[in-house]
């Protein structure tokens, strides 16, 4: 068994890697002295993969199916796998995002019994028509819950404003109407397409015996080499945004907003995608972070409060920045952001700000390595972009001011600025 060891001496971390003959890669990040052990088994398949070609057949499936499949995988021939994890005292969970589905557990004891269960159930779906119908009621309530959640709605409305065609604008769980079309056969078709080990990854974080993890994978992954080719089909998305403004009314006390810039011309794989992420995040800090003049102005004028936050997302076929929170006048915030950006275009970015913020962000990155859960989640969120979380350290070491300036001029284009607002009903 060939095990690769990578040391990150500057931050006292080590990562071990092994590849199974099926193509499945397995990573272990040991955390000495931690009680909690965390394992995640993820597939490169999420809510945006509703159209694909497999073995020459072009398939279009109902929205929400990746998430539905995630729910159904917990059901096994002899009952719910949740119960088996519960007996071991561990916490099983799973989540579906736009481009991945991840099955995980955290535990204190009996790591290998838990790990064996994880490997087993993710490889062995047992889906019946009856259980599919029952799940429609539960997921129906999950969809209803999100319909009333203003943070969720303001986010999806922004995606709808950005994108004309991109499936990222569709709610991960689908709609009550779309999930009504899901049946057993179509779930198996998606499973058989996207759950081949070569399309998957395992990461284990915690104080575990490294070799035993790899040994267990070696013995318990039963598929061998890749037997299918998947072609993911995405509709063509124009560079321009779908609409500049989208508004919805909900039972909230004061308006909330999310706005941002749709990104174009980005590389979505490899270190360049992390470079761009860090560059935009540094720029967002410079433009509207707590140390900026703009933040002070918006805060003092009562246009934002402590709910204000910002972020940048970059995935395989979309990328965008976003910032928002509660505000009595979201459109005035927009005007002030635009004029600040125009001002920075003229004056240029101060290199001292860049240096200071980079130093702070590097420190905050290291702090995140305190948490076993956080490491595993961060790992999964970047892995299918063909990078690993420790690559962020290289980004902080190598990123240049010139590059950040270049990204500033590319990304913050007001033609691609969209605004989403949730207003109170009355």
């Amino acid at each position: 068994m060939e095990i690769k060891t990578i040391n990150y001496d500057k931050i006292d971390e080590t990562m071990y890697l092994y590849q199974h003959k099926s193509g499945l890669k397995v990573f272990v990040i040991p955390k000495k002295g931690y009680s909690k052990k965390f394992a995640a088994f993820g597939t490169h398949y999420g809510s945006i993969n509703s159209e694909f070609v497999v073995n020459g057949e072009r398939v279009k499936v109902p929205d929400g199916i990746a998430h539905f499949l995630e729910h159904k995988l917990f059901e096994q021939k002899d009952g719910s796998v949740m119960d088996k994890f519960s007996k071991l005292g561990s916490n099983p969970n799973a989540y579906t995002s736009f481009s991945q589905t991840v099955y995980l557990f955290s535990c204190i004891d009996k790591f290998f019994e838990n790990f064996n269960l994880l490997l087993d159930y993710v490889q062995n779906p047992y889906i019946t028509e009856e259980s599919v119908e029952k799940e429609k009621a539960i997921i129906g309530q999950e969809i209803r819950m999100y319909e009333d959640n203003p943070d969720w709605r303001v986010f999806f409305n922004l995606l709808d404003a950005f994108y004309k065609e991109n499936p990222v604008k569709i709610d991960i769980a689908g709609t009550i109407e779309s999930i009504s079309k899901i049946d057993r056969e179509i779930l198996y078709k998606c499973y058989n397409t996207f759950y081949h080990p070569s399309n998957m990854v395992i990461v284990v974080v915690g104080d575990v015996e490294v070799e035993k993890v790899f040994q267990m994978v070696e013995e318990n992954i039963f598929k061998s080499e890749k037997d299918i080719e998947i072609e993911r089909i995405f509709p063509k998305e124009p560079d321009e945004i779908n609409k500049h403004y989208k508004e919805q009314k909900l039972a909230v006390a004061m308006p909330l907003f999310l706005m941002g810039f749709k990104d174009v011309n980005f590389e979505s794989k490899g270190i360049n995608c992390l470079n761009r992420e860090i560059a935009v995040k540094i720029l967002l800090e410079i433009i509207l972070g707590r140390s900026s003049d703009l933040y002070t102005e918006l805060y003092n004028e009562g246009l934002i409060n402590n709910t204000f936050d910002f972020d940048y997302s970059i995935e395989e076929n979309y990328a965008f920045s976003s910032f928002g929170g509660e505000s009595k006048d979201p459109l005035l915030v927009k005007e002030k952001v635009i004029s600040k950006i125009e001002d920075l275009c003229k004056k240029g970015i101060d290199e001292k700000d860049y240096q200071r913020i980079k130093k702070a962000m590097r420190g905050r990155f290291i702090r995140q390595l305190n948490s076993v859960d956080r490491i595993a989640h961060m790992f999964m969120s970047v892995y299918f972009k063909e990078v690993n979380i420790f690559d962020y350290l290289n980004v902080y070491d190598q990123i240049t001011f010139d590059y950040v300036e270049k990204v500033f001029r590319e990304h913050f284009n007001k033609e691609r600025l969209a605004v989403s607002v949730i207003k109170p009903i009355s």
């Binding site: 002295g33 119960d83 204190i108 819950m145 200071r356 962000m361 420190g363 290291i366 305190n370 948490s371």
Partner: protein
């Protein structure tokens, strides 16, 4: 040396108690300073405004921008403050977390810098004509009003908090963490500053330092805490826990929502420092503390009524809440299924699986506390408030001693007080 999981009491003077949690497994160290007050209508909003105003600036860093510039230079040190309630105590927290020396190339004595900063924030506010800066007080009062009004935005949390407030209507626990809009209206800059002077001098203080620190760092912190000008500290009252329920209350609020939210509020009549409390922990876990629980298995898995359903304890006031998001027309049916679970547990109809899984789930939860500095601090602070000497391992042991019969016995003490429901206008119930 001390055991990794232990909070060591370093010193106690002038109503200030200093704890150290030595550990070297984290990449950061943290300092937490807590002030405790009794939760009252008169003080709740004032106490909530104090950290909000103090975080606007101190003499040395007089604005959010200045603070932020400084913390960026300290390698992205994070600082925050705010209020929470534990039972009928209002707790005002000041927190700083900074990267450990070993990940910093320059020698800057970051612990000393972080502690000094936190002290400057607390003791050297920006003053104007011998009072807080009026602009800061006015702005923070407005923002706190927004915060109170904004409670309704998250219906899931709102349904839990409002239910427990209704259970304790007229008792101190019924006061919201930030007080009320009426109270905020009546606060002026001068009152608030006078309140602050009393706050600093007379509220009991708990200081928790955690991480890989040198003894001289601890000495430095102790010596400087000693310099704070203090007077006799106030008494913190214990919450009243044993309260009889005459009649179950029904409270309904109407919003324009798609999903109904059902919360049931209970009095457990159990004190957190009583041996009975460990039985209650087990009871709650079997009832609604995870995927193994009766509520999850029946309300969600068997009946498909909900996506989420859980029960949770508020240990300091002896309360329990069950909460779920459901179709509005399923309210009665859901209550019926919940009642059936409550009856079963009281009869001792608990399977071996439910018992074992609940035990293990509690053990996992408590052992996980050791992996987070904030959770460790919160655990020991809570123990201190309830005057319990138990470490996490001792809590696990005591819960292990609870039997199925103990769970059925404790069930008899848990009394339904309030049924709270969020509905919409469209459908008649």
């Amino acid at each position: 040396m001390f055991k990794d999981s232990q909070a060591k009491k370093i010193a106690s003077f002038n109503g200030i108690t200093l704890f150290w949690i030595p550990t070297n497994k984290f990449k950061t160290n943290s300092i937490n300073i807590f002030f405790h007050d009794n939760l009252t209508n008169a003080n709740a909003s004032k106490n909530a405004l104090i950290p909000a105003v103090l975080r606007r600036g101190c003499t040395k860093y007089p604005s959010i921008r200045d603070i932020s510039l400084y913390l960026d230079e300290l390698y992205g040190t994070s600082f925050d403050c705010g209020v929470t309630k534990k039972g009928e105590n209002q707790i005002i927290q000041f927190y700083i977390e900074y990267i450990s020396d070993k990940y910093i190339s320059e020698n800057i004595d970051i612990t000393k810098k972080a502690f000094d900063f936190l002290m400057e924030i607390i003791t050297e506010p920006v003053l104007e004509d011998g009072c807080f800066k009026n602009e800061y007080v006015a702005q923070e009062t407005e923002k706190m009003k927004e915060l109170i009004k904004g409670r309704v935005n998250n219906k899931m949390h709102y349904a839990v908090e409002r239910c427990l407030e209704e259970v304790c209507k007229g008792e101190p626990f019924g006061i919201y963490d930030y007080g009320s809009l009426e109270n905020l209206e009546s606060i002026n800059c001068k009152d608030l500053y006078e309140h602050y002077l009393k706050f600093i001098k007379t509220l009991p203080m708990y200081v928790f330092v955690s991480g890989d620190l040198k003894p001289e760092d601890i000495d430095y912190i102790k010596d400087n805490l000693f310099k704070i000008d203090r007077e006799e500290v106030i008494d913190i009252k214990e919450a009243e826990i044993e309260i009889a329920v005459d009649k179950v209350k029904n409270v309904t609020e109407t919003f324009d929502v798609n999903q109904g939210k059902l919360s049931l509020g209970f009095r457990t009549n159990t004190y957190p420092n009583d041996e009975e409390y460990y039985k209650l922990i087990l009871y709650n876990s079997i009832l609604g503390g995870g995927v193994h629980s009766k509520l999850f298995q029946n309300v969600r898995e068997k009946e498909g009524l909900a996506y989420y359903v859980f029960s949770r304890l508020e240990k300091f006031k002896g309360l329990m809440v069950i909460s779920s998001g459901i179709e509005i027309e399923n309210k009665d049916k859901t209550i019926e299924i919940i009642n059936k679970q409550l009856e079963d547990i009281a009869k001792g109809n608990i399977t071996e699986y439910e018992y074992e899984a609940a035990q293990k789930s509690i053990e996992t939860g408590i052992k996980s506390i050791k992996d987070s500095q904030l959770q460790l601090v919160d655990f020991y602070l809570s123990q201190y408030i309830t005057k319990s000497e138990d470490t996490p391992d001792m809590v696990i042991e005591k819960v292990k001693n609870a039997s199925i019969k103990d769970v059925a016995d404790i069930a008899l003490k848990v009394k339904l007080d309030t049924i709270y429901f969020i509905t919409n206008n469209e459908k008649e119930i």
